[in-house]
């Protein structure tokens, strides 16, 4: 029991420490922007980790929800005068309800079948955003009205870094709350054995729907923040490649590790920035890095390192 609580606070302290430390060290707006992108991606990755890493349900369409969140803060204020903050919540609510409604039938599918169904879902969202040009601006996208807080318009990457950092910490707290509850135990249980979970009285369809919906809300909020940071949004946000990138973040960082989602997001956002010096070798190197990480840190970066550390430090712990 003590250990459980300790783990939780350690995780939170680690993330908060990292965010604050990096925030104090970052030298320029560019670094703040990259940092903000890491944190914003991490929010979506934490949500997807609940679904993929903890509940074991694959989604190849999560960028669709990122897109919904992004366009919520672009469309609602532009066309209907909804305040930006309210738009974030409306987008999140819409994503959550949509996920709940679609999740019920789709989540009956297993493994790769679920992957393809969610893939289709993501592509549908991207297509609507691309094709309904009168409202969404089409493939070239549309501008996003700036967020106004206390009368000031927030546009500096540094401000967004701290906003995203705060949001990420809250996201992790909520994720921890969930995991440390009956619903959380239920969703982790169904990952390992659906039949045993059902025998224990878990309504598997309901729990899957809930976690799908929660992860959609995370993705949507991440999308809203991304749109507000950028000030301009294109349907690429919802593209299949971004869905794949989110999954890669979760798997690289470590399925079932919330800190891992932050690390995975950091790797996939920062690595391409670092690799630009190699120009045309960039993609080749990025692919090689991903392969190498997965071969040598098979359970993902954080779980593998944690295991290695624990094994070295506390061999007596293992029997």
């Amino acid at each position: 029991m003590a250990r459980l609580i300790n783990n939780r606070w350690a995780e939170l302290a680690l993330v908060t420490g990292l965010i604050v430390l990096a925030g104090l060290l970052l030298p320029s707006n560019y670094y703040f922007r990259v940092g903000a992108l890491v944190l914003i991606s991490a929010i979506a990755a934490v949500g997807l980790n609940l679904l993929l890493g903890f509940a074991g349900q694959v989604s190849l369409g999560h960028a669709g929800f990122v897109g919904i969140g992004a366009y919520a803060v672009a469309l609602l204020p532009t066309h209907w005068g909804v305040p930006t903050l309210a738009s974030i919540f409306l987008g999140a609510a819409f994503s959550g309800v949509l996920a709940l409604a679609i999740g019920r039938p789709i989540l009956r599918l297993k493994g790769h079948f679920l992957a393809v169904a969610t893939l289709g879902l993501g592509i549908l969202v991207a297509m609507v955003l691309t094709n309904e040009a009168r409202i969404t601006g089409g493939p070239d996208g549309m501008p996003v009205p700036r967020l106004e807080l206390l009368g000031t318009r927030i546009r500096a990457p540094e401000a967004w870094y701290w906003i995203a950092g705060g949001t990420l910490i809250i996201s992790i707290v909520f994720a921890q709350n969930l995991l440390n509850s009956s619903t959380g135990r239920a969703l982790r249980a169904l990952h390992d054995s659906e039949v045993a979970a059902r025998a224990a009285g878990i309504n598997v369809a309901r729990v899957k729907g809930i976690v799908f919906s929660i992860s959609a809300v995370y993705a949507s909020i991440s999308g809203s923040l991304l749109a507000l940071l950028n000030g301009h949004i294109t349907p690429d946000t919802a593209s299949f490649l971004n869905s794949i990138e989110l999954v890669t973040m979760v798997v690289l960082g470590g399925m079932g590790s919330l800190v891992g989602s932050l690390v995975g997001a950091a790797v996939l956002v920062i690595l391409p920035q670092a690799l630009t010096v190699f120009h045309e070798y960039e993609h080749l190197l990025l692919g090689s890095f991903i392969i190498a990480i997965m071969i040598f840190l098979r359970d993902g970066i954080v779980p593998t390192l944690r295991k290695a550390l624990l094994e070295r430090k506390a061999p007596e712990d293992r029997v």
Binding site: N177, N180, T183, A189, A196, A200, I210
Partner: protein, 267 residues
């Protein structure tokens, strides 16, 4: 013979299912009541586990009826049966390997926990209270099954015997009225078997109806109130341990396949 006896906790009547034209379970009928230990034995492939899957809602019966406390539950899914007080273990372990031993048992208490995903997400005080209650109960069960030493260990790192007991603890965590145990002692050494034996008797005494599938004849004959013998999905005989042991058809059936005690454990 009045089979659908309303006093009986669990009654199964004329139940059957077939896979690919082969009758895996065919016309099985029995009933059992609170505090009783009812055992099902039979050679490999006799349909014992299939029968469990039918009773616990994993498979839906093609024919026949399952009654639970007087209610027809033949078409209900497993989670609905769990809510009505039915718990089970699995022959080939169905452990939540990514969770700790404690958490495995806590999952067992799911039916008694509130389904309020939002208050779980926000971590309201009610959730913390609920967690404490569930955790304390789970700790007590771990202790009862001699697993207190591995409380926080990942289930994936436990030994086979420990996992067998963990499944029983998880099933007990739901405070069941009926408990289906699928080979609880398989793969356990004599000491462990004796411990399980003791727990089964203790649980039955507390008023739980136990249905037991087991290969260990000593255990079965020692604890059971009634025994049912299955071969090829059909009932061979049902009666007290003495009746079954002395029945000529049982001796005949087992001569062909080797005595059940001699069978190797399953993986």
């Amino acid at each position: 013979m009045s089979l659908l006896n309303p006093i009986s906790l669990l009654s199964v009547s004329n139940i059957g299912i077939s896979f690919g034209g082969i009758h895996a379970v065919d016309g099985v009928t029995f009933e059992t009541s609170a505090g009783q230990i009812f055992s099902i034995i039979g050679p490999n492939g006799a349909g014992k586990t299939t029968l469990f899957n039918l009773i616990s809602g994993v498979y839906r019966a093609e024919s026949g009826i399952v009654m639970l406390g007087g209610e027809d539950v033949s078409t209900l899914p497993p989670e609905a049966l769990a809510a009505r007080g039915l718990a089970r273990t699995f022959q080939n372990l169905q452990i939540f390997f990514r969770m700790s031993a404690l958490e495995n048992v806590m999952v067992g208490a799911h039916v008694h926990e509130k389904r309020r995903a939002l208050s779980h997400l926000f971590g309201l005080p009610s959730t913390a209270r609920e967690n404490r209650g569930t955790r304390d109960a789970a700790m007590a069960l771990l202790e009862r099954l001699h697993l207190a030493g591995v409380t926080n260990r990942s289930a994936g790192s436990l030994s086979y015997g420990q996992l067998k007991r963990l499944e029983i603890a998880r099933a007990l965590a739901s405070r069941p009225k009926i408990l289906l145990l699928d080979e609880p002692a398989a793969g356990c050494n004599p000491t462990e078997t004796a411990e399980i034996d003791e727990i089964i008797v203790e649980v039955a005494k507390s008023g739980v109806a136990i249905v037991l599938v087991e290969h260990d004849m000593k255990l079965v004959m020692g604890v059971s109130d009634r025994v049912l013998v299955l071969t090829q999905g059909r009932m061979l005989i049902e009666g007290t341990p003495e009746e079954v042991t002395n029945a000529p058809e049982v001796i005949e059936a087992y001569l062909g396949t080797g005595l059940p005690t001699m069978e190797a454990s399953h993986d």
